[in-house]
């Protein structure tokens, strides 16, 4: 499945992650017998994992090019708030069929996300500013615009049908999971199987050499940030549907967690290597930990703390491992 970049070490990494996931599921089941390994719990995890997972995919692609997208969550909420605003307005106006309202809302979400992505992409690819700095700025701008629209409170008043997206399920599989799987497939297709995807890894590995090979690296980068923002938009729709309201401060802890999932999933923080499915596995791992802790009774906030530690630990291990490799060569 990993035909594009066949390093033995990377395949080792994927298997290790899967093994870790199995281990954690087993561990959690033991620690909370009868509560973890239930359809109900897995269904719950499915509800929560989707929005986070899609965000993590969006973050991964940016990190693969050697950058980072700090504005990911803020663009998710901005586009979701824009859509929510429209939906509420249309709903209050009355007389418009629910499906039309929802479709329009989602369309607005997509348009706004693409715009956010293009803003990021413009500064990173065409002005040439480091993505860290660009997304630091756009994060604040997007947040400000969101707050301006919501005035600090939440937007609600959507058609009931909308809630079904985030809360409904078919055959015990939440709709959100189906959307998540679709997103994974789309991401896998684009990033692991198309020329653009290969270019993403190449740009992350050595932008200059890729440019010297006649690839339009500016266009590649622009598409990266638009893709990232579109993923964020989808996640935003799921979040708003789940909470049935849109607030500017939703999902604030997701930024760090998305980076953690990316890094845990085997993507190099400096870019050039990684795998979408690695991030997906890492998302599962983090979700299992979070839900498991919750069931056992550990406070949700401690889970956040643990995620932070995981991130630092993975990066530290990578750092020292790379140093070892360099010393061995010399």
């Amino acid at each position: 499945m990993d035909g594009a970049r066949g390093h033995f070490s990377r395949n080792k990494n994927q298997y290790f992650l899967l093994a870790l996931l199995m281990l954690l599921i087993a561990g959690m089941s033991l620690m909370a017998p009868g509560k973890f390994l239930t359809v109900r719990n897995f269904k719950n995890m499915g509800f929560q994992m989707a929005e986070f997972g899609i965000l993590a995919i969006g973050m991964s692609v940016a990190i693969m090019t050697g950058g980072i997208n700090l504005s990911l969550v803020n663009s998710a909420m901005l586009s979701a708030i824009a859509g929510a605003f429209l939906m509420r307005g249309m709903n209050e106006a009355g007389g418009i069929p629910d499906l039309v309202i929802i479709a329009s809302g989602i369309a607005v979400v997509m348009v706004v996300s693409i715009l956010c992505g293009m803003i990021n992409g413009y500064f990173v690819a065409y002005v040439g500013v480091a993505s860290l700095l660009v997304t630091l700025g756009t994060q604040t701008v997007f947040n400000g615009v969101s707050l301006n629209i919501t005035r600090g409170s939440g937007i609600s008043g959507f058609p009931e049908l909308f809630q079904r997206i985030g809360a409904g399920s078919v055959l015990n599989i939440p709709y959100t999971m189906l959307i998540y799987v679709a997103a994974i497939l789309a991401a896998w297709y684009l990033v692991e199987r198309t020329p653009w995807g290969v270019s993403v890894y190449m740009v992350g590995g050595n932008e200059k050499a890729t440019r010297f090979s006649g690839i339009n690296t500016k266009a590649v980068l622009m598409k990266v940030y638009v893709f990232s923002a579109v993923m964020a938009g989808v996640a935003g729709v799921l979040m708003v549907s789940r909470y049935n309201s849109a607030r500017a401060d939703y999902g604030s802890s997701y930024t760090l967690q998305a980076v953690a999932a990316t890094v845990l999933g085997g993507t190099d923080i400096n870019g050039g290597s990684g795998h979408i499915l690695g991030t997906v596995t890492a998302v599962c791992i983090l979700q299992v930990v979070s839900s498991g802790f919750n069931i056992i009774g550990i406070n949700r906030n401690i889970t956040d703390v643990v995620t932070g530690f995981i991130l630092v630990a993975v990066l530290t291990i990578n750092y020292f491992a790379a140093r070892e490799r360099r010393h061995k060569k010399a």
Binding site: A4, S199, S213, I215
Partner: protein
């Protein structure tokens, strides 16, 4: 004028790297109060020699280093600095956002282990240093606001604060105007008259005849000779620089075809001026000259990276002006850059990825998905064609040897079926065996109909396959020769002299 007694003496210095003898048995000495020029082509061993005497490299066992008459073992970089051996490289290593004052005197403060900054002391030190050079520069100006010439003066002043006894200057005039060169030489002479030993590395023979007291020529890692400037003349110098037997056969081509590229009078401010030449199918056009002559800048203009301000480029009769490598690629122009590790390859990726990068779109089927089997096949074909070893498309590019890495870079462009292949220093840092292989490869490619432009500083390489040779100097083309009849002396003359 020159005080006798060598400050630094090297004897039997050799330095071997895997596959390359950078230096072999070189003996060299520098006296106090002299300007000693170190001359040689690219790859002659000058920078390696400098790195040995500044302690950056350790020479092979058997070398003797004497400083002020006393033998020194295991000279380290810090050690060399403490003994007064200071090198000023082309980047000056200044602190760009700090002031002139600080750049000159900061290290002194560090040596003193102060906790508080002694601004007055720094001011005094910096002022004294500049005065002793006879220059006045605003002490409060930030280093990155100064012209290159002035930054260099700051670097020299800083060396004085270090109490430099031997000053090594590496290509000091490459970025200076002639007025600034005069200024620099005045200072160099005054330093010499005060007893400093100075090693001056430069290609610009005219300047060296004016400033140097003695000259040493290196070639292919060996000492060719050392003599006082008074006993040298240009002809002798050039023949010392290049006077090697060309044992390689000159690989002759099958004969050139129609004109495929015509460059008409292109100019770009600060890069090249009034450059014109033609290129025919099936021929290898060598472009030589010294570093800084503008060769790379000129050929980059054909690849969309340095478009000219004026002039025309005609490809197969049609006017073209590529503005990006992507555009050049579409026109059928390929470029193998000088630095294969930073510009030519994505080292993290495998050979297959690198080989197929320019033509990725070819492997996308109707679904848009890449057919990886097809890609691997293509990669295998290219590997076979160019005899890349080991023949593993899945191996990381990093792990291939220099020569094979270069073959990968050339191979990746072959996949685009180029009309014109430009290579810049194609065998830089590659061992002799692989060199020959690559030369044969380039010749064969030309014979198959591709027009090849080869930029190179290595004269033997130029001779081995070029049908025609252009020489550039200071942004202009100064000579055009037939590959069969040209001699090294002819080329070097056009490269270094007006």
């Amino acid at each position: 004028m020159a005080q006798s007694g060598a400050f630094l003496r090297l004897e039997n210095v050799s330095k071997t790297f895997p596959g390359v003898n950078a230096l072999s048995g070189v003996g060299f000495d520098v006296r106090r109060g002299e300007v000693h020029a170190l001359i040689g082509e690219n790859g002659a061993g000058k920078s390696t020699l400098i790195k040995v005497l500044t302690g950056v490299y350790q020479p092979d066992p058997g070398a003797i280093i004497e400083i002020e008459g006393k033998r020194v073992e295991n000279l380290t970089a810090l050690d060399a600095m403490r003994r007064g051996i200071i090198a000023i490289y082309q980047d000056f290593s200044l602190f760009p956002t700090l002031t002139v004052k600080e750049n000159i005197a900061f290290s002194e403060q560090i040596e003193r282990h102060n906790h508080l900054v002694d601004w007055r002391g720094m001011e005094k030190t910096a002022r004294k240093a500049l005065e002793s050079l006879g220059v006045s520069i605003d002490l409060r100006a930030r280093a990155n606001t100064l012209s290159t010439a002035r930054q260099q003066l700051v670097a020299i002043a800083r060396a004085l604060v270090y109490d430099a006894k031997l000053l090594v200057m590496d290509e000091p005039t490459s970025a200076l105007s002639s007025g600034e060169v005069d200024m620099l030489f005045k200072i160099v002479r005054s330093l010499r008259d005060r007893g400093m030993a100075i090693i001056f590395i430069s290609h610009k023979l005219d300047e060296l005849f004016s400033i140097a007291d003695r000259m040493t020529v290196l070639r292919d890692g060996r000492l060719i000779g050392t003599a006082p400037t008074a006993e040298m003349d240009r002809k002798k110098l050039i023949s010392m620089m290049v006077g090697r037997e060309i044992s390689d056969e000159r690989m002759r081509g099958k004969g050139a075809g129609d004109v495929v590229l015509e460059v008409k009078n292109i100019s770009k401010h600060g890069n090249y001026q009034n450059v014109s030449f033609q290129l025919r199918k099936g021929e290898v056009l060598g472009i030589t000259g010294l570093v800084g002559a503008g060769r790379t800048e000129t050929v980059l203009s054909l690849f969309g990276m340095n478009p000219p301000d004026s002039g025309e480029i005609c490809l197969e009769g049609k006017k073209v002006m590529p503005r990006s490598p992507a555009e050049a690629k579409k026109l059928g122009i390929a470029f193998v850059p000088e630095s294969r590790q930073t510009e030519g390859l994505v080292l993290q990726q495998d050979a297959e990825g690198n080989l197929t990068l320019p033509v990725l779109k070819d492997f996308a089927g109707r679904s848009g998905m890449i057919d990886f089997k097809k890609r691997r096949q293509r990669a295998q074909e290219l590997i076979q064609k160019l005899n890349v070893r080991p023949a593993y498309p899945g191996m990381q590019a990093l792990k291939f040897s220099g020569g094979n890495q270069q073959k990968i870079v050339v191979a990746k462009w072959l996949a685009t079926n180029p009309k014109i292949l430009i290579v810049d220093e194609p065998t830089n840092g590659i061992d002799v065996g692989a060199k020959a292989e690559i030369h044969r490869l380039l010749r064969d490619l030309a014979d198959s109909g591709i027009a090849v432009i080869m930029v190179s500083s290595e004269l033997p390489e130029i001779f081995s396959i070029s049908d025609r040779i252009l020489v550039m100097r200071r942004g202009r083309i100064t000579g055009e020769f037939d590959g069969a009849t040209a001699t090294q002396e002819m080329l070097m003359e056009k490269a270094v002299l007006a």
